[in-house]
């Protein structure tokens, strides 16, 4: 009756210390064998977001729209030069950014909030941050509804290239998993990480070309005089991602949608895979101490 998907608790030795490759393999197997758990956690998270508010799941749609309205007003007041179809311009960045912040914020508390369970049963803790990031995908998918609504106002910008959005989202997913693993494990040891991350995320957004375009940096004196800063700004993963999303949804400042910069995306994907590998090893090395520290 007690058939389990898990191998029975095996020999445990203080001296055994698996290598990096073994740890990555272990983490992959854990997520694969606990797919169902990830799914249930994602479902619970979605229910939770919908359940506590009067408008419920309508917030998936309203939230990015209202945020967009705030930025449109803000930028209309301070901008030097108006950008054509600005609502769509920033919406292409707000959607992926909302996914990223929600995922990172949830991942930060994902381990700590399950402290009671972690001290009582042995289960792979990797599933918790992975579920947090995956739950964000659902929000991102819901965001396609308001995107379609806005698109109706700018039909001349609609092109089949918009179908490339999921492909760009895959790159973002991989990068986000890496960040999620690090903050989830880090928050176990340093509980102020949540506060720190809130401000890091805000600064990160303004340093990323979400409300503006990378090409507009040349108009800023500081950046014109220091080309190094422009290079720095463009290696930001979210510079690559925002520009890619914008190219297929909005287009460029000069015209309609164009192909994303495949080379930049490819490099980001490769770097992200390496980043996730490093983050996984760090996470798995720290994992055995979670139950002791929590």
């Amino acid at each position: 009756m007690s058939a389990t998907s898990e191998a029975p608790a095996a020999f445990r030795n203080a001296a055994s210390r698996p290598g990096a490759v073994a740890l990555i393999g272990e983490a992959l197997r854990e997520v694969a064998s606990r797919r169902r758990l990830v799914r249930y956690l994602v479902q619970a998270e979605i229910k939770r977001r919908g359940a506590n508010t009067f408008l419920g799941n309508l917030w998936w749609v309203l939230d990015p729209l209202l945020l967009m309205a705030v930025y449109v007003v803000l930028v209309a007041i301070i901008a030097r030069r108006p950008i054509d179809d600005y609502p769509l311009f920033i919406f292409a960045a707000i959607l992926p950014w909302k996914w990223f912040t929600a995922a990172v914020t949830d991942a930060t508390s994902s381990i700590v909030s399950q402290h009671r369970l972690i001290k009582q049963i042995a289960f792979p803790k990797v599933v918790l941050p992975v579920a947090a990031v995956t739950a964000g995908v659902v929000g991102f998918a819901f965001g396609m509804v308001p995107l379609a609504g806005i698109m109706l106002l700018y039909l001349d910008r609609l092109s089949p290239l918009i179908l490339l959005v999921p492909l760009i989202a895959v790159v973002q997913y991989v990068f986000t998993i890496g960040v999620a693993l690090l903050v989830a494990a880090g928050n176990v040891f340093v509980r102020d990480l949540g506060n720190v991350m809130r401000h890091v995320l805000r600064l990160w957004f303004y340093l990323s070309p979400g409300l503006y375009s990378l090409s507009m940096l040349d108009e800023v004196t500081l950046f014109r005089e220091n080309p190094l800063l422009v290079t720095l700004a463009s290696v930001n993963p979210f510079a690559v991602l925002f520009e890619a999303y914008r190219r297929v949804i909005y287009g460029t400042l000069e015209g309609g949608p164009v192909m994303p910069d495949w080379l930049a995306l490819g490099v980001l994907l490769a770097v992200s895979v390496g980043f996730v590998a490093v983050a996984t090893v760090v996470f798995k090395r720290l994992e055995p101490t979670f139950a002791k520290v929590l």
Partner: protein, 277 residues
């Protein structure tokens, strides 16, 4: 795993612990903030450590029921956590043969937005059960928890007694080879407590080996055939339950007397108590 193979002396054991030690490093102990961590790190404070368990060696063969007793903070729960695979030993090794299950403090891991039925599936997934297995077990759990139509209502509408019943029903629905019990008997109202005690006894009879942490000495004498007394992380005595319980009782009394004497000395003449040290 490339290290020396485990020294297997007897073949039919369920649990073999060899020189088990668990060390806690207090650098990152409970809820420290960056301020404190950085402060300590900069000041190069020596890292405080303490051994919750040290040199614990025992064998448990199939069919045995082992009681672990001792004063608070002796390392009893830590020992169970090591056996369950929740904490990795800092030294020594432990070999556990068979599927281990502990009775959760009821309701850890529940999600209040999910219904009772959904929480059964979630708990099963956390326990590492196949989804099909959990679905097979679900009707029995629902019946045992006796929640009526509440089983399809979100958990946030449950009373604490209902939650405890559901948690207990889930935890005891799996029949493990090795059962780890940590003071789980005191939950719910008196009728449910009687019902749950009967269920735990049933599990104890059915499982191949049991490790039980408890303060209930009557239970130890009645249902266990071996006992270990832990004090300050060390095994003080191991063997016949009556004998171990008696040693524990004696030690507790001595400790009480010592404390009383200390308090008396400190109260009446602090300078004498200080000079004695």
């Amino acid at each position: 795993m490339t290290d020396t193979p485990p020294p297997i002396t007897d073949t039919e054991y369920a649990i073999a612990a060899d020189g088990l030690g668990v060390r806690y490093t207090l650098r990152f102990s409970r809820k420290k903030s960056i301020q404190r961590t950085l402060g300590q790190w900069l000041a190069r404070d020596p890292v405080e450590q303490f051994w919750a368990l040290r040199d614990v060696t025992f064998r448990l063969v199939h069919g045995e029921s082992l009681a672990v007793i001792g004063p608070n903070g002796a390392g009893k729960s830590t020992l169970l956590q090591v056996l369950a695979g929740i904490i990795r030993p800092s030294e020594g090794s432990v070999d556990v043969r068979g599927h281990v299950s502990g009775l959760l403090t009821l309701g850890a891991g529940f999600d209040v937005e999910l219904t009772g039925r959904e929480n059964i599936l979630l708990a099963g997934a956390f326990l590492g059960l196949d989804d099909a297995v959990t679905r097979d077990l679900a009707p029995g759990i629902v019946e045992y928890a006796d929640l009526g139509q509440f089983i399809d209502a979100p958990l946030k509408t449950y009373s604490s007694g209902m939650r405890a019943r559901l948690g207990f029903a889930i935890a005891t629905s799996v029949d493990p080879d090795i059962l780890l019990l940590d003071e789980v008997l005191a939950t719910g109202d008196s009728t449910f407590r009687a019902k749950s005690k009967a269920r735990v006894l049933e599990l104890v009879r059915d499982s191949k080996a049991v490790v039980l942490v408890t303060h209930d000495m009557a239970w130890v004498k009645e249902y266990c055939n071996r006992a270990i007394l832990l004090e300050h992380g060390h095994v003080v005595i191991e063997g016949d339950p009556d004998e171990v319980v008696e040693t524990h009782r004696r030690h507790t009394e001595e400790e009480k007397k010592r404390k009383a004497a200390e308090a008396k000395a400190a109260g009446l003449a602090p300078e004498i108590a200080g000079a004695k040290r």
